[in-house]
C-alpha cells in the first residue's frame, strides 16, 4: 500500500500526505511548523496557492524564503531572508496571545480525542522506549487555533484507546475539558492525516471523524487500523492524488528525499 497507488500514479505515500496537507493551508495565515513532513507540505503550499503564508518556527524564525529544506526548526534556513529573526519567547508569546492560526506537527500515537504521545512507550518511570518528549508540541497543541497532525503509520498500535503518556493536548477527555484544565478556549486539533485518510473532529463529541479516504483505501481498512471506533457520517470523498505539478515541486523542495524518501 506504500507505493504505486491510484490510476496513472506512481506517486509515493509521502508525496500524497504532503499534497493533502498542503491543500489545507490557507494563504495569509500563520502556520507554526514542526520538523519533517509539515515543513515540506508548508513549502509546497507556499509555492502553489499560499505564497503569503506566514511560516513560524519555534526557535525564532518568521516568514523566511526557505532556500532548501531545513533539518531543524532552529536551522539558519528557517530565517533565511526572513521578515523576523527573534527569540522563542517572542514566538511562544505570539502563539499564546492568539496570533497563530495553524499548528502543524508529526505524531507517533494518538487517541480518539486527538491527544498525542511523544514521550514514552511503556511506563514513564522505566520506559520500554524513551522518546524525545514534548519539545514544542505541547505549546503548539495548547496555543494554535487549529492543529494539524501528520501520522504515516496508522495502526492499532498508533490509534489507541489509552495513550502510554499524554504529551500534547488534543481535546483531552472531550467537550469543554481543555477549557476546564486551563487551556485557551476555542482551539484544538483540526485535522489528522494518515496513510489511510483524512480525519477531523465531531463538533459535539470532539471524537475523531473520517473526512476522506485516500485512493484505494476502504472504510474497513480505516476501522481495522484503529483500536477506537472512528465516526463516519454519510458518503466519504476520496483524496485527490498528487498532480504532476505538485510532484515536480516536491522534487525541488526535497531533492535528496530527506523527508519524502522516508
Amino acid at each position: 500500500m506504500d507505493q504505486q497507488r491510484g490510476s496513472g500514479g506512481d506517486y509515493t505515500l509521502a508525496e500524497l500526505l504532503c499534497c493533502v496537507a498542503a491543500r489545507m493551508l490557507e494563504d495569509n495565515r500563520a502556520v507554526f511548523v514542526g520538523t519533517g513532513l509539515p515543513m515540506t507540505a508548508t513549502m509546497l503550499a507556499q509555492r502553489l496557492h499560499a505564497p503569503n503564508i506566514m511560516m513560524v518556527f519555534e526557535a525564532g524564525g518568521i516568514g523566511p524564503r526557505l532556500p532548501s529544506l531545513p533539518v531543524s526548526v532552529g536551522d539558519s534556513r528557517t530565517f533565511h531572508q526572513a521578515l523576523v529573526a527573534t527569540t522563542m519567547h517572542d514566538i511562544m508569546s505570539a502563539a499564546q496571545a492568539g496570533y497563530i492560526d495553524y499548528g502543524f506537527l508529526g505524531a507517533a500515537a494518538m487517541d480518539v480525542y486527538g491527544n498525542i504521545n511523544t514521550t514514552v512507550i511503556g511506563d514513564w518511570d522505566r520506559p520500554k522506549v524513551r522518546l524525545p518528549g514534548s519539545g514544542g508540541a505541547n505549546d503548539l497543541g495548547s496555543f494554535c487555533w487549529r492543529t494539524i497532525y501528520v501520522m504515516r503509520n496508522q495502526s492499532t498500535r498508533t490509534f489507541v484507546n489509552d495513550l502510554d503518556f499524554l504529551t500534547t493536548p488534543g481535546y483531552l477527555r472531550g467537550p469543554g475539558s481543555r477549557e476546564q484544565a486551563g487551556l485557551p478556549s476555542g482551539c484544538g486539533p483540526y485535522r489528522v492525516i494518515t496513510q489511510l485518510g483524512v480525519y477531523g473532529f465531531d463538533e459535539a463529541s470532539k471524537r475523531l471523524e473520517l473526512l476522506a479516504l485516500h485512493p484505494g483505501v476502504s472504510l474497513n481498512d480505516v476501522q481495522t487500523n484503529s483500536q477506537f471506533e472512528i465516526l463516519v457520517k454519510g458518503q466519504v470523498p476520496e483524496s485527490e492524488p498528487p498532480t504532476p505539478e505538485e510532484r515536480v515541486l516536491l522534487q525541488e523542495i526535497d531533492p535528496t528525499g530527506m523527508v519524502l524518501g522516508k
Partner: protein, 335 residues
C-alpha cells in the same frame, strides 16, 4: 477577586533549579561582576573554575544549532559527574555527555532525539536501563519561560499551556485559579541553572555578546544562569560593541568567562558561518548504537586530543571547516 487562592492541580515532577528570589538576589549581589573585568580564559580554565560535579547545567542554542560544543567536550574531558541537564532540545550535546557518564538526571522538554536525524541510541539506552533518570517533563515553550522568570527575579510565571496533560503531571508546575479571570492558570517555577553555556558570534573581553540571527532562548538563559560561560567565534574590541549597543544580546554583568573558540559549535551549525557537519554527526549516531562504539567515539575525539584545537584537526582541520563555511554561506544544505 477571590479572597484565597486554591491549588487546583499539582505536577509531581522534581523541582529543578529553583531558588527563593531573595536568596537569588543576594547571590547575584555577592557573585556577579558589575565592573568591566577582562574575563578571557581558556576553555579548560573556564570549566575548571565554573562547572562542578552535580551542577544543574543548561546549554544554549537549539538542536544542533549554535551549541557550545567545545565546552561540552571539555566537561567530558575533565570527568564531571552527576550533572542535572536542562533537556531543551538537547541533541548531540546532551547525548555525548550522557554517553560519557557525566549526567544522572534530566529535566526534559526535548532530549534523546536528533530531530529529523532520528532517535538517539545513547540517550535512549541510558534512560531505558535506568542509568539516567528523567525527573520531570515540560515543553520547550514553558522551559524558556522558566528562564524568563529567573531572569526577572520572580518566583514563577503564569502560562496558559501544559495543563491537562501527563506532561503537566510530571512537571514541577501547579495550576491555580487566576484571581482576575477566574480561569485555571498554570504557574511555572523560575529556573536558575548553576551554569549556562552559550556560544555566540562575537563578544568583547568583558562578555558583551552579539548573536546573529535568532537568539532562541539565550537572552533569558544568560540572565537566569548563576554562572555563565560564553564561547565566541571571535573576540571583538569594546569600541565595536559601543558602536552598536543595540546588538548586545548578552550583557557583560551576567557573564563569568569568555573563551575565544573559532568553529566552537562544530559539528553543529553556526548561522551565517558554517553548516552542520553531517558526516561527523552521522559518525556519532552510528557509533553510539553500542556502548563500546560510544566509548570509541569519546576515546578518539575527546580523550584522544588535548583540547578543541586538537579535535578540529582530527575532524578535518581548516580544510573541512572551509567546506562547511562555504555551504552555510551559499544557503544550501548539500554535502
Amino acid at each position: 477577586m477571590t479572597d484565597s487562592i486554591d491549588i487546583l492541580a499539582k505536577g509531581q515532577g522534581e523541582l529543578i533549579g529553583w531558588h527563593d528570589p531573595d536568596e537569588h538576589r543576594a547571590w547575584v549581589r555577592d557573585h556577579k561582576p558589575r565592573g568591566l573585568v577582562d574575563k578571557r580564559m581558556s576553555i579548560r580554565e573556564a570549566v575548571e573554575s565554573f562547572v562542578q560535579d552535580s551542577d544543574y547545567l543548561a546549554i544554549g542554542g537549539f538542536g544542533h544549532v549554535r551549541v557550545p560544543m567545545a565546552l561540552v567536550y571539555e566537561i567530558i574531558r575533565q570527568g564531571r559527574r552527576d550533572l542535572v541537564m536542562a533537556g531543551k532540545t538537547g541533541v548531540h550535546d546532551i547525548d555525548v555527555l550522557i554517553g560519557a557518564g557525566c549526567v544522572s538526571r534530566v529535566d526534559c522538554a526535548y532530549a534523546f532525539g536528533h530531530e529529523l536525524r532520528g532517535l538517539s541510541p545513547s540517550g535512549r539506552r541510558a534512560v531505558e536501563s535506568g542509568t539516567v533518570r528523567v525527573v520531570s517533563e515540560l515543553s520547550n515553550g514553558t522551559y524558556q519561560w522558566r528562564f524568563l522568570a529567573g531572569m526577572m527575579g520572580i518566583p514563577f510565571i503564569p502560562v496558559r499551556g501544559l495543563a491537562g496533560t501527563d506532561t503537566f503531571d510530571k512537571s514541577a508546575a501547579i495550576v491555580i485559579e487566576d484571581p482576575w479571570s477566574g480561569k485555571p492558570v498554570t504557574l511555572m517555577p523560575a529556573a536558575y541553572p548553576d551554569v549556562a553555556l552559550i556560544h555566540v558570534h562575537r563578544c568583547d573581553r568583558f562578555g558583551n555578546a552579539q548573536i546573529d540571527g535568532i537568539a532562541i532562548e539565550d537572552v533569558e538563559l544568560a540572565r537566569a544562569g548563576r554562572r555563565v560561560i560564553v564561547t565566541t567565534e571571535e573576540i571583538i574590541d569594546e569600541e565595536e560593541i559601543r558602536r552598536q549597543p543595540d546588538r548586545t544580546a548578552i550583557p557583560f554583568y551576567v557573564v563569568d568567562a569568555v573563551c575565544e573558540v573559532p568553529f566552537g559549535g562544530h559539528p553543529g551549525q553556526m548561522p551565517y558561518r558554517y553548516f552542520f557537519d553531517e558526516e561527523h554527526i552521522g559518525e556519532w549516531l552510528s557509533l553510539s548504537k553500542t556502548p563500546e562504539g560510544a566509548q570509541e567515539y569519546l576515546g578518539r575525539y575527546v580523550h584522544g586530543v588535548a583540547d578543541f584545537a586538537g579535535y578540529l584537526d582530527l575532524v578535518g582541520g581548516m580544510v573541512r571547516m572551509q567546506v562547511l563555511a562555504t555551504i552555510e554561506k551559499g544557503g544550501r544544505g548539500k554535502l
